[in-house]
Symmetry: D2
Subunit: 436 residues, 4 copies
């Protein structure tokens, strides 16, 4: 997934005075350590693999998020800073073309050097320089530095999620079915009640980030008004059991259920089930970060594309919510859920209520029916950091709510994630909506 987010600017943030830079440094260190903790279970060899063009080797992720601080904070604001190797500036530039020529993305998996140890050295080198910078902030740049710092930390958190989905994809290629970790939290048992539908009357709504509401990526604003016709939204995501019913009803064989592009994809890639599913002696298993496991009927279905979500919805006589509908439905819901911090690293069944939407946050990124396009009044920022502020706003669909690999303090009501409609390696699922 291209990260337009990288480039986002906070719509509003606290001034340097409101938070001591010491706290910023602690926060910096906390985020940085979290990335390394994610990689702890890896073998050196795991760090090197690029299992498809969309996946990056874990060591590349670790280096790229580091480069972000180097390129946008140290190089401009720390005159004494010296890079470890000038070639890194191209190797770890993801797609900032006005910054320089990035090393070609599909070739990231051909680089054995810098080694994993080199990359950790690079991280330590940048961390030392960052600590030094934050400990003696040049006052004339303090505001801009902290603005970029906050962005850089969100950027790194976003890559933590990417790391987990990429690691899963890498290990899933391997006929040895290696588990990433054997000690993940198990899901609790429990059935899944019938879907209930939450009603929403028609009305005019403010959508998008509230400029007084703390950090957000620029694509979450400007806040603007949208009129929504009345709608009903399901109280929980579609489950594996429900998705299996769709499969058993010929879901993958009936062209009338599919968008034309989706039907073509079904044929090209031979889709017959969600990604990572295999059938053994009549039972569905799927590859998880804990290895190959039976599919839990009550858990939200995951690793489905927008095309599959859309086909399911048509089959079920419903549709996907628009992103504004999702946002309205989530407006007064507490931001709790199965995030990375729960240590499941897999969506799990959860109790839901018939009168309130459940599992909006965490578990699975929920495909919406909205194409990823700019909000009215959206403007790209000046300079390289803002260079591409909307450059991914074509050919992709919006997803909402975060997933089981998202850091809990990284998600927001207005957060707009996006993937191409055929993508399946993210932790993506969906919930249904219908007319009132």
């Amino acid at each position: 997934m291209p990260l337009a987010h990288d480039l986002a600017s906070p719509v509003q943030r606290e001034t340097p005075d409101t938070l001591h830079t010491k706290e910023w440094l602690r926060r910096y260190q906390r985020v940085r350590q979290a990335s390394e903790r994610i990689c702890e279970p890896l073998c050196t060899e795991d760090y090197v693999i690029q299992s498809m063009d969309d996946v990056s080797p874990p060591k590349w992720h670790l280096a790229h998020v580091t480069w972000f601080f180097e390129a946008f904070l140290l190089t401009p604001f720390q005159p004494r800073y010296r890079t470890l190797d000038p070639v890194y500036d191209s190797l770890f530039n993801s797609y900032y073309e006005t910054h320089g020529v990035p090393f070609p993305r599909p070739r990231r998996g051909t680089l054995s050097r810098p080694t994993v140890a080199d990359v950790y050295r690079y991280r330590a080198h940048v961390d030392d320089a960052m600590a030094e910078l934050l400990e003696s902030l040049p006052p004339e740049h303090a505001e801009e530095i902290l603005r970029r710092l906050e962005l850089g930390l969100h950027h790194e958190q976003q890559h933590q999620e990417l790391l987990l989905m990429d690691i899963k994809h890498i290990l899933a290629q391997n006929p040895l079915c290696p588990a990433y970790r054997g000690d993940l939290m198990p899901a609790s048992e429990g059935g899944m009640p019938e879907t209930a539908w939450i009603e929403h009357a028609e009305g005019l709504h403010e959508i998008g980030h509230d400029p007084h509401g703390g950090f957000a990526y620029d694509n979450e604003g400007p806040r603007h008004r949208q009129f929504l016709e009345a709608f009903q939204i399901a109280n929980r995501p579609v489950t594996n059991a429900e998705f299996i019913a769709f499969m058993q009803d010929g879901g993958y064989e009936r062209p009338e259920l599919w968008l034309s592009d989706g039907w073509q994809q079904v044929g090209l890639e031979g889709w017959r089930a969600p990604l990572y599913w295999v059938k053994r002696e009549g039972t569905w298993y799927h590859f998880t970060l804990a290895g190959l496991r039976p599919v839990d009927p009550s858990a939200p279905v995951v690793h489905v594309s927008f095309f599959e979500a859309d086909a399911y919805a048509r089959w079920a006589g419903a549709r996907l919510p628009g992103e504004a509908e999702w946002e309205v439905a989530a407006r007064n819901v507490a931001m709790r859920g199965n995030f990375v911090d729960s240590d499941h690293l897999q969506p799990v069944a959860a109790p839901t209520r018939a009168d309130a939407p459940g599992q909006l946050y965490g578990d699975v990124w929920e495909w919406t029916g909205s194409a990823y396009r700019p909000y009215p009044g959206f403007k790209t920022l000046p300079g390289t950091l803002g260079e591409y502020n909307g450059k991914f706003m074509s050919g992709q669909m919006v997803l909402r709510g975060g997933c089981c690999a998202t850091p809990a303090d990284h998600i927001r009501l207005t957060y707009r994630n996006f993937f191409p409609p055929h993508a399946r390696w993210a932790f993506s699922g969906f919930r249904l909506t219908r007319e009132a």
Copy 2:
């Protein structure tokens, strides 16, 4: 372009009583003759060529629109009807998969038979049977027959426009630069004034087809409400002179102006100017249906992709209108313009007023910034005709207003055309919008 339109159903239409079937037959014949008139200037050889996957051979168009009447009217409602050849049912089925297996689209250009003469025989055969059907309408099916008839006629008109854009593409491949016709209407001379901006206040609007307003494709409904923030829209499309200024300012060489997918396309296809443009001794020419001609600075730019339109708008500090904005701006504007009936077959300069939008209809299909997605409450129809009613609603952008190849009585305020963002062989241009 896949024609989801094919499948559309009129949201509302007059009853069989309101129009004598004789009038319907006359209308049928008028539309059918128009298709053949478009092909009159062709050599037999021109009818056979498929210059790229998206283009169909002209004889295929002539046969496919005929098959539509055969498959959806004669076969179900005329028991005595006998087809000329049962193989035609697959050859001329475009994409109706529940009807049968369509002959593969990219192979249409490998079929020398049926010959052009055979295709005209097929048309006459179906025309005779249609006349017979309309002259003695089975009363129990009369309403459905006329409903499908009206759809079939709009379908054929839509293919008339496709015929012209495909013929242009076919002839443009040829180093001999053959003109389609030497007797097209010339454009009148005339400068082009500065762009003026028409203001629109914020407000809640009804968008989409009015169910009491005559025929429309189903994707134009349901009528629903949208809130729009205040905006300004240009009083005319962007001209060739303006687009040349963009080119001269490095428009095709500056990644920061482009969507990421668009920039990739620029590299892959080596775009340096709109499609059909060539530079000779410092002057820009373009291939037109009248042959190679100098580019008219005052005429609307045409044969640009959404990506080029979007990059130009960014360069110009503006953006493309949303389709609802376009519809609001066009609401009270007379539906006049340079259509196929003007016999230019090329966009031309036109006088505009500073206080009213000009050239909204005709000349060029205008790219909007809206992804082609269903309106709230949109439902697909039952049966084969409705099988794929929304199946093209991913990966495409909406265009509005018709072009110089559109029949004047085929266009509507609410008409939603759509193409992939990289497509350039339609008569596609754009106008600018900006925040108020």
Copy 3:
């Protein structure tokens, strides 16, 4: 098939004195008429199609062979000559890169103009100019002109064969299964006896064109010595019945029978039978120039690739002959057979003798086990005509003996045809060889 032959020079030929130029003109006209006679059964539409990259539209063949006379005889030796259109010089140049930039081969099927009538006008125009040139030969160039004339006539004969195989491929794409001609000569009935093996003792042989033996392409020389170990060669080509036995024994499913590249091709293209074969209710049919016909068990199998021939031979415990073995076996055999002049346009069963090889000439081009490489001492000629004299000598295999589409006076003992090992649309079959 690229025609390195085009470029060949006669190893030896009669002087201008030995043949009156009138006879040359008659021969020219005879060959030219034969090309047009082949195209007589075509509809205009058939002339335009390029059914795959390797196939050229029939009107392109007719124009290209004409261009050959224009480019290599009229332009250099007839100062008064004026071309009909200078663009033709690129359009109809096949691959002579020092002559100019040829129009891209895979785009030949996108050209509707010049029309078929234009191409016949072009032929008449060149024929008139050629008659004039031959009637008043400039003495100082007479020898070179006649040398090139003879080459041009062989070149055109070669394209007559290509025309027939390309026409077959074009018509075979069409679900209507149109016959090229309904009046072809039927095969006579008759069983096919067991294969007999003709013995050849070891020995040193002269291989290649005898410089005193009339016209030959340059790739047939120089004559040189080869030592052959003793071998046995079959008295006839492998038949359809035999090939069906191979198919029934799992021939297409057993990787151990195939060259690695061949096995990959089987998978990629889903080969299960020779090209043009279809099974209907348990019986094998194949598309022929007379339409869809039952496969004749006794006729030589045709439209198989080198890979299929090689796999069959391995299955049969034999191998394909080297081209020198074939030439030695054919040395004292009369050059009779089922050529284009027999008007079958399909291989047919023929009586054979146990003590002499049958059907060496005509019926099917026979794949040999020899890669197409230069003979020792082979040299390319100076100038454009010789520019590429060996340029196709990689990646192809040699075939010998001509086929049912070859003009009888075009074939020779030493004639080296060549195709890539996966090609199947030529009239290609094979016979077996084994160690003595």
Copy 4:
């Protein structure tokens, strides 16, 4: 390069009595250690990379050669043997389709597990079992076991060479230009005299492996007779200085010098110099296993394809030798040269004599003009080991003589190496031949 060699069987070998099995075990251990010594300078990360489809990750090489002993010796002849993991049997099967379904070659670089340490454990496990097997040879299988052992050792030596060329390719992708080793032997200085030509009279020769001559791959036999016309062969390979002269004379821009397929490759891949060459400030450098180094004018040119060798030869008015010519020229030449044991790992200049061919062995594999096809009488062996004995005998060219990465005791006069004509990552060069 596919290794048909893998499968070869010795044409003749010493009986088990002639060599004590202890000596075999020592030889086994020596070869096995050599593979590991080659990998010593690698980082763990280097072992994992597959830089193109033709390259295998070094850890795959180490495991595959081990699998060879497991699959063909331990599993059939050592009943007590237990594999470490049954999945290895597919992962490390290269292409033996009757043995089982090999893991797809182009996906070898997606496997992080088994780790490098796991692979070394696998090697030790198999080595222990092999020692046990050899120490108590079952007498009834002793001959077959030693036959396969010898084949397995040659197989592993062949992979040692592949390891070095693959490691070079892997490191060469990296903008950091990492050296494989910093301590390689430097070349000695020294000019390069003019080419001298060694004459060979015409004659009948015995070609191929002498069945009384020790081990050989099966493709080197049967020994058979070939008649050669008189020829001259150069006393040394073409040098970098000579190849630069070709480049400066427009060698890569002149289509008339190239085979058609080669010219297409030049365009597709933008060839302008041998693989690994870069020009910096007017000087040519190339990437070597010692890092980026200036090109030595007197050393043999290396990393050129057959197409480049062939084009150079045409430019020079010469040609490449046939493989029989090469073998005749090398017949009485001592098998000395710059092999892997010299520890240059790069071709180097060497003194030559005008009256004897130099550098036939070592330095560069020499492209011949011979397509890789079976010798007369060649038969594939029964069983999996012989399954594909000739399966690579299409589409490739023969190379002779070994290179700077070949173990000295692995090469033979009759050794037939082969690569596709476009391949460049082997240590491939060439020498010229011409008619007498």
